[in-house]
Subunit: 261 residues, 2 copies
Amino acid sequence: MHRSVRALSRGLALINELNASGPSNVVQLARRTGLNRTTCYRLLDTLREDGYVTFDETNALFGLTPQVRTLSEGVSSRDLSSQAALPAMFGLLDEVSWPSDFGVFELGSVLIRESTHPFSPFSVHRSMVGRRRSLVRSALGKTILAASAPALRREMLDLTVSLVEEDAALAKDRRFVDDILSQTKKDGYASSVGGSEAGISAIALAIPGGGPVLGSLNLIFFSSSMTPELAAKKYLPSMRAAVKEIERRWSAANKARGKLA
Amino acid sequence: MHRSVRALSRGLALINELNASGPSNVVQLARRTGLNRTTCYRLLDTLREDGYVTFDETNALFGLTPQVRTLSEGVSSRDLSSQAALPAMFGLLDEVSWPSDFGVFELGSVLIRESTHPFSPFSVHRSMVGRRRSLVRSALGKTILAASAPALRREMLDLTVSLVEEDAALAKDRRFVDDILSQTKKDGYASSVGGSEAGISAIALAIPGGGPVLGSLNLIFFSSSMTPELAAKKYLPSMRAAVKEIERRWSAANKARGKLA
DNA sequence: CCGGACGTGTTCGCACTGCGAACATTTCAC
DNA sequence: GTGAAATGTTCGCAGTGCGAACACGTCCGG
């Protein structure tokens, strides 16, 4: 068995933090990552030498350079669902201005695969892709649950119970889950208010895609600017169109793949 | 002075390699990064524990997970020019199917900021963002040169001479540079055949954006499928429309920014 | 059938890397 | 003008991370 390399984990945590919070000074970074301040200096210097980080001398701020994208850029090309989703999400962003995320079920929660957060004038977050949302509390998760066949749904909930500690109780609560299902089916969409973060609401649609549900698409907005009901009234048609387009691209991509194989 | 942390640099090199080449076995990774094989195991195990890497046991292949995008996703949101470019590039991809890159001049060469490579059915490369192209040999670079005012152009070339060893001779060659300018101005676009990679051609347009040139946009295609002249005939109108849209979004974004400041 | 080329996975002792307490200095609020 | 909170640097030592070496499976050509 190989031991793990502490210095690498720590360096990546730093990049993560810089990415999530933007340019920061050393003390902030040290506090938020829990690292010793000197250790931060050393790691940041390394990242700077390698071209991933810049240092603004006048304000003593460290920030990421576009080069960090050499670490991840190729990943999405392997993922057909994301490839299908992102172009449609840009279309949606053009129409409604609010950001949206595309997520898939994985290991008991929803993994966000693509996002137009960085491109929306109303975005609060910097980084969404790779983060997770609750299966039973987020709009993204609830709509996937409601769109799945009962047997598959059971499996998903079981996974949540065993893998996601903070959702285990809710996922076991039959009543709670049934309420999600009936509410979502009645409305035709799922919603959440202040779920992942105070002041932020979302509505979401599942992407059926033929077989087992592909994933789901949400739309994020400020709770103060409108209720989920109003958002649904204004934006559901656009979202439905986006879902349709994702399904179209998805099946087109699959067909192209079939030819190769 | 802080010394640098070798383990971190090595780990990042591994991610880079995985990103550029896709899932690989340990020996390939060790060879390509120049690391000891055991060191690779140790670093990869660390990355796996942290969720950045998966291991396919049956084929003994290591690959990146979508989580690596938590390292970089937020970066583009700070960069207005990229924010303006990507949506337009998706539109272009929809029309022509060939991938394109958006690049800006930096430190004597062109830094690729956005790319639709991962989304094109014809893409050869996995990862383009963050890589660099020659100022004097790539289509992307030549069109920026031709679109810049003489004084600025001189400065750019000087930077290239002093910072980019392999281009220094060409950048100093007055005749060579003049040829680039007259050719590009005559055609209305710049091109390259097999410049960065054998069998790959490109044509490119500058994005003026009012003041000093914003950057440039290229279109990539197989040299065997058509000549640059033919590509220009077929695709220049679409590219020009994309350039227009980028400029539009750019000035809109700047206006919005002005209001905040 | 056997050697040797090439792959995977693991062990372990030691050197040197990376750690962080401690110190010097500046900035700023009150 | 004084204290609280930054930034930036030094340096001796613990222990992390290193990689040579080992064990094993598989494929291929002579």
